[in-house]
Amino acid sequence: MLIEPDMTIRSTDTPAHTLFKPLPGAQGASAANVAIWFNDRPLSVPGGRSVAAALLAAGIARFRATPVSGAPRAPFCMMGACFECLVEIDGVPSRQACMVEVKAGMRIRSQEGARDLPPTNLADALQENVHGR
């Protein structure tokens, strides 16, 4: 999976430049776009898929910075195993973007290093292990 390293975040009116192309007939390929926020910028992303797939389709290449070295990372396995796609979703840190379905209005932030414990927002923390399933 190739991802351009310096991809900048696109606003809704900028055509996203991405290497990822939904396959015709794939699940969610015909789903309508939904409006979300990524790092406080509005984005229009294809719906009917995971947050990770939606962000990649919108040209987002840097999902997080690692806790150890601060290196930029993006989704790798897309199936819940590698934990490379961690983002903050609606105030809940370190969620696996590949395991959560994208919804209109989501406020998503890149996960900068390790999350804190206990969570700063305990109400939202209750959702943490749901993973949208």
Binding site: V68, F83, S94, A114, R115, L117, P118, E128
Partner: protein
């Protein structure tokens, strides 16, 4: 020292170390430091590989209750750990993340606290120099603010620490090979023949000859030891471990069952089960491990667990290590224990010189497997 050619490659070896886990690698690294030419036979991933599943503690407190030489031996390793870690960093460029800030053992009842104090006081009386403190809940909270209300006190000793055990194994493999140790991977030792002034090890892939042989094959030692007149009645003891997502550093001390690693994950462990060679995980044991962790640190109920595994400790009948040289076949040694991390420094810096001909370390005669034969005679006599 007699030098012989191994049959399969022509390489020269003074010592064959059977086992490339933390014990075998530490011994091999130490032997190379002594100038020996060493061949290490390491099994493949079909082996039980305790060195890839352990918890990573360099732990002293409470160990050796009832057999104080074990406390002395463990401590002699812990005090050598800083120089050992520095040598590994210098020679392998791998930082094994050694931290020895002291460790806590939490108590949840007055009885536990009293039992803990008795245990550590007994060890102090036998060892002399054995620093520890008994702390009440306020003392513990002052040092670890995140502990929960169920913790009524703790024992603390500055002797304890932890490392990243996977980095340790990689550092040992790198450093020993940099010193010329030959690592033969995917090789399983099937038998050993004493021959003239040395030994021939028959493996799945080839045969190997050297003047000396060290059995550091973990659970495999049981079957190999009798080939050279040794006894290693070790059996598996399963431990299960949970590991969390990475979180910002919050726990700066190791504890017996919860620790935060150098890279931010939280490990939960310290289960013990005798279930033979079954190294699978079980939900009820993992649930209990998680519950105990959350009881000490309630905020950990919010942490996501990302992996779990089980590994088999290499346990002798009394739980203590076995260090022996064969009387029937001098030059054949067995080195086996369940604390390959804590004891790594002693294995490299004290056991290896003994194998190369130096005097046996003072603590070690206690750990001959002859103690099990005596125990049997004693039992039969009654």
């Amino acid at each position: 020292m007699t030098l012989s050619r191994t049959a399969d490659s022509g390489a020269l070896a003074d010592v064959i170390v059977v086992g490339g886990g933390l014990v075998g690698s530490a011994v091999a690294y130490g032997l190379a430091r002594e100038g020996a030419r060493v061949t290490v036979l390491d099994e493949d991933d079909g082996g039980f590989r305790a060195s890839r599943g352990n918890f990573g503690l360099v732990w002293i407190q409470g160990k050796g209750y009832g057999l104080s030489p074990y406390a002395r031996w463990s401590r002699s390793s812990a005090t050598r750990w800083p120089q050992f870690a520095q040598a590994l960093l210098d020679e392998s460029a791998i930082d094994v993340a050694l931290k020895q800030p002291g460790g806590f053992h939490f108590c949840f009842s007055d009885d536990e606290l009293a039992e803990r104090e008795k245990r550590l006081s007994t060890l102090r009386a036998e060892l002399g120099d054995y620093p520890f403190q008994m702390l009440d809940a306020a003392d513990v909270r002052a040092r670890i603010p995140q502990i929960g209300p169920a913790v009524i006190g703790a024992s603390y000793t500055p002797m304890d620490g932890h490392v990243n055990p996977l980095k340790l194994l990689r550092a040992l493999h790198t450093a020993m090979q940099a010193r010329g140790v030959r690592l033969v991977s995917a090789e399983r030792a099937l038998g050993i023949e004493p021959q003239g002034h040395g030994f021939m090890v028959r493996g799945k892939l080839g045969t190997y000859r050297a003047a000396k042989v060290v059995l550091a094959a973990g659970l495999g030692n049981r079957a190999l030891a009798p080939f050279v007149g040794l006894n290693a009645p070790v059996a598996p003891n399963r431990g299960q471990v949970l590991v969390s997502e990475r979180v910002a550093p919050f726990l700066h001390y190791p504890t017996l069952n919860v620790r935060q690693t150098d890279e931010g994950t939280v490990q939960f462990g310290d289960s013990m089960e005798e279930v033979g060679f079954d190294d699978f995980t079980t939900t009820h044991v993992l649930a209990d491990i998680a519950r105990r962790g959350v009881r000490a640190f309630p905020m950990l109920r919010h942490v996501r667990l990302v992996r779990m595994w089980a590994a088999l400790r290499v346990y002798s009948p009394d739980g203590f290590p076995i260090y022996d040289q064969s009387q029937a076949h001098p030059g054949a040694f067995v080195v086996t224990c369940h604390s390959g991390v804590t004891l790594a420094a002693a294995h490299a810096l004290r056991v290896a010189p003994w194998i190369m001909g130096a005097r046996m370390p003072d603590e070690l005669p206690t750990f001959s497997a002859q103690r099990f034969e005596r125990a049997t005679e004693l039992t039969l006599a009654h």
